[in-house]
């Protein structure tokens, strides 16, 4: 009896609860749209429009903005011209060279730092703070510091090299062959903190029992690293390699601030070439076509990353 009564009471309670929630669902619809409205407007203006007009601009002969009178549709001419343009093709090659240098350096250095920090070392906090410091620093400030440190004549690095007996120390950022690799080193130096911290999180997720079991079986530190650590952190490695590739093609800021693509064309990558075509030669159509090629390259790796992430990383 008593239980029946309490069932009735709670049944009523459930009914009113459902009513209240149903009223809420209606309110929810409108509120949902209202809440995303500011973002939606911003998305349309700042993301969708620039992306969509790329397709239009890239098939026109658009010169600088104001000149819309003789704007013409020229089909794929920009793309055809680009693949015949030796300067653009050289820039594309430099972009790949930049990427080929940057990716292994930053991923391996990040792994090395993470492994060291994860070992039993002293003053771990201070060391980790120092290693991460370049990552949050201002790129321009860093560029100024490094141009001084690597100054050909008076910089401390070349002074040291001369003192060690090197008669012709490298020209670093001023050298035709050294400019691009030097930029890569500075870029990797600045970015490596992110890779270290990401690897560190992965290393700390490797179950300790595995190491203990392997030690009991007589595996040395190196063997444990190769057979346990490397395979278990491989999803992170995959993620970081792709991140590094995608990041490496977006090198406009660091190059512009360090060398502006020089000396000569020595460090003019695709991103710099796009800038030069648009803001120096005012050929907006041609620049946009180049930007779309750059985008296509990055997109390939973005898709690989998203596909891989679904396979390897679980969001719960």
């Amino acid at each position: 009896m008593i239980s029946l009564a309490s069932d009735l009471v709670s049944g009523n309670a459930i009914k009113t609860k459902k009513k209240k929630l149903a009223g809420f669902r209606l309110q929810e619809q409108r509120l949902g749209y209202l809440f995303i409205l500011p973002f939606a407007v911003g998305f349309l203006i700042f993301h969708a429009t620039p992306a969509l007009i790329s397709f239009v601009i890239s098939v026109t002969n658009m010169r600088f903005l104001s000149n819309t009178a003789d704007l013409k549709f020229i089909g794929l001419q920009n793309f055809i011209e680009m693949f015949r343009d030796q300067e653009v093709m050289a820039a594309l090659g430099r972009s790949f060279l930049y990427s080929a240098l940057y990716v292994p350096i930053i991923v391996l250095l990040g792994l090395l730092m993470a492994v060291l920090i994860n070992c039993r070392i002293y003053a771990r906090g201070i060391l980790r703070t120092s290693l991460f410091m370049p990552y949050i620093s201002n790129m321009v400030a860093i560029a100024i510091i490094w141009s001084v440190i690597l100054d050909y004549k008076d910089g401390p690095v070349n002074q040291l090299l001369r003192a060690l007996g090197c008669e012709n120390p490298p020209l670093w950022l001023m050298g035709e062959h050294t400019a691009l690799p030097t930029i890569v080193l500075i870029a990797a130096w600045q970015g490596v903190g992110l890779y270290m911290v990401t690897y560190l999180a992965a290393l700390q997720n490797v179950p300790k029992e595995l190491y203990e079991a392997a030690t009991l079986d007589g595996a040395g530190a190196f063997k444990r690293f190769v057979h346990i650590t490397v395979p278990l952190i491989s999803p992170t490695t995959f993620f970081l390699i792709i991140t590094a590739i995608i990041g490496s093609f977006q090198n406009f800021g660091i190059i512009q601030v360090l060398t502006k693509g020089g000396p000569g064309e020595a460090s003019t990558t695709m991103a710099i070439s796009v800038y030069k075509a648009s803001f120096e030669q005012y050929r907006m159509g041609y620049a946009t076509a180049q930007a779309m090629v750059l985008f296509a390259i990055i997109l390939v790796f973005t898709v690989i990353q998203w596909k891989g992430q679904r396979k390897w990383v679980t969001y719960d």
Binding site: R25, L31, A40, I45, M133, V148, G155, V274, I298
Partner: protein
């Protein structure tokens, strides 16, 4: 007993060697900053003395004074950047939290499709749309104002994604009991969600501040007036107009880095944990 002692000693030696190795790498990471601070207190003539001296023999403030001399735009750039970064934080936090909450906790038609469309914005990197954005901003009369930096930065799908994950982790029971108690959605958002999300919001605010403060490309492209310029780009102009005076540049660079380094040293937990838990973008 002796065996154990020996093993322990071996362990200690290993730690010392590994610490030394890490310290060398750490030194490579912070030496440029030490060089910068040290040089900013030296007269130009002593800057390249060999061997390098970390503590200047007679520290001077002259380089800093030059930054603030009459007619220098350095203080102006500093204030511009500070105002721009703070405005971004306020607007961005509001926009992102509302959007993320809607996607996490509200039901409305087409939600998933809209989310995917928004997500596509992450696929288009900024370097690729410089020209196109310039054209759009120009037509909207946004170029040469700080809104060209603030508004686009506030529409950041990356943080919507992160905050949505966070809101989704808050149990539904909590919201439902609040509804029964007669709370409106707006109140739930204000009184329950936002307070719970504080650590996540802090991570977002910190990273956004640092990015805005450090940003070079956007002000370089979209701001043309020297007096309206931001600190990052200002520093490069300074570099050109003060062609030989590296010491003054170092003072400028030090002041540009100061707020970021202070924030980082005091709140580094939020930076590092923020990356570790969410896989921060590069």
């Amino acid at each position: 007993m002796i065996e154990r002692h020996r093993a322990k000693r071996k362990e200690t030696w290993r730690s010392i060697v590994l610490t030394a190795l890490t310290a060398v790498l750490a030194l490579c990471c912070i030496f440029p900053f030490l060089f910068m601070i040290s040089s900013s207190f030296k007269p130009l003539g002593q800057m390249f003395e060999y061997p390098f001296r970390l503590i200047p023999s007679r520290p001077i403030l002259g380089n800093y004074e030059q930054l603030f001399l009459n007619g220098q735009l350095f203080p102006r750039w500093y204030v511009n950047t500070l105002v721009m970064a703070c405005l971004t934080l306020v607007i961005k936090t509001a926009v992102i939290c509302l959007t993320a909450y809607a996607f996490a906790k509200l039901e409305f038609k087409g939600k998933n499709v809209i989310f995917l469309v928004f997500l596509s914005s992450l696929m288009v990197p900024g370097d690729v749309t410089l020209v196109q954005r310039y054209i759009v901003y120009k037509h909207l009369h946004l170029t040469n104002t700080m809104w060209a930096l603030i508004l686009p930065a506030s529409v950041d799908m990356y943080f919507v994604f992160m905050m949505r994950q966070f809101f989704m982790g808050i149990p539904q029971a909590l919201t439902e009991s609040a509804i029964i108690d007669g709370c409106s959605h707006l109140k739930i958002f204000q009184k329950i969600m936002i307070p719970l999300a504080k650590p996540a919001i802090l991570t977002m605010v910190l990273f956004s501040f640092v990015w805005q403060w450090n940003d070079y490309t956007n002000p370089y492209i979209f701001i043309t007036d020297t007096s309206r310029q931001m600190l990052s780009v200002g520093l490069t102009m300074f570099q050109i107009s003060q062609v030989n005076n590296y010491a003054v540049q170092m003072a400028g660079a030090t002041l540009a880095l100061l707020p970021i380094i202070l924030i980082y040293l005091f709140l580094q937990k939020y930076f590092i944990e923020g990356i570790a838990t969410s896989g921060m973008k590069g």
